[in-house]
């Protein structure tokens, strides 16, 4: 049971960190489950607030709890759900696809122009298209700034598995960026240009 002052401190911490916590929850679990995930994480934080020694570390502590709650949920689901097959993306290079397809023929800054076509919301949409097992390490590493070893501990996975998921996640992200740009008309494909 928390004291009144601990509860007040946790509430203040939660208010301060709410946008970041919700952002992480959304990236881990998707928009439909994010709010519920934040609530469950906050309830779990109430149970273990006494274990937080350094209140300055509270932001990171809340993110660790939220990630643990998500990990436990995913484990329960994957006991019954079948693995989503991911086709081979090892050889995909967005950099080279852009060179080969040359979607902006008059540009000297092809790759920057491509990235410049994406709003933050577009990038978010692309990220949410990735399978959760690849999206989670990517978000924890590059959005939240956790070290690879910390991610392995958080997700209770061997380091080699996390490294492999990160690599594949990056490749899937590159390919998803290209597919999204194609769907949204950010790029003019060569074959389409030839047919005009």
């Amino acid at each position: 049971m928390l004291t009144a002052s601990d509860t007040a401190a946790l509430q203040q911490l939660a208010r301060d960190e709410l946008p970041g916590l919700y952002g992480l929850a959304r990236h881990l679990a998707g928009p439909n489950e994010a709010e519920d995930l934040v609530q469950e994480a906050l309830l779990r934080a109430c149970e273990s607030f006494g274990s937080l020694r350094e209140h300055r570390a509270g932001a990171r502590w809340l993110r660790v709890i939220l990630t643990n709650v998500w990990r436990d949920r995913v484990r329960k689901e994957t006991r019954t759900a079948r693995e989503v097959p991911v086709d081979d993306v090892e050889a995909f290079s967005l950099y080279r696809v852009l060179v080969d397809e040359d979607p902006y023929p008059y540009s000297d800054t092809l790759h920057l122009d491509f990235l410049g076509a994406f709003t933050d919301g577009d990038v978010d949409t692309v990220l949410l298209r990735l399978p959760p097992r690849y999206r989670a390490p990517l978000v924890l590493r590059y959005v939240e700034g956790f070290a690879t070893r910390q991610i392995a501990q958080l997700l209770e996975l061997p380091l080699g598995t996390v490294l492999s998921q990160l690599h594949r996640g990056r490749k899937l992200f590159e390919r998803a960026m290209w597919d999204y740009a194609d769907e949204c008309g950010f790029v003019a494909r060569r074959d389409a240009a030839r047919s005009v």
């Binding site: 946790l10 939660a14 952002g23 709010e35 934040v38 990235l115 978010d124 590493r141 959005v143």
Partner: protein, 82 residues
């Protein structure tokens, strides 16, 4: 000098870890030496750096007002949580 040259495919495979400074010393040196002589992979490296930056921006402005309101209410009620 490293013991062996690495191919573009292998160098590109390690670029993000190279940027993260997460490679073992020998692999790091192999990538460095490859980049010293491969202009194309230097382009890949720069692009990987930009793409990493794009990923970092993906969280901006994601808390809708209605969700913020509900979660703020939930936080206010935490003092009743068992």
């Amino acid at each position: 000098m490293v013991d062996r040259m690495i191919s573009c495919v292998e160098a590109v495979r390690h670029l993000w870890e190279f940027l993260d400074q997460g490679l073992p010393d020998d692999a790091n040196q192999a990538v460095e030496e490859h980049l010293a002589r491969c202009v194309r992979c230097c382009g890949e490296l720069e692009f990987a750096r930009k793409l990493r930056g794009v990923l970092r921006t993906a969280t901006a402005g994601q808390l809708p007002d209605d969700v913020r309101g509900r979660l703020a209410g939930f936080i206010d009620d935490l003092d009743h949580a068992e």
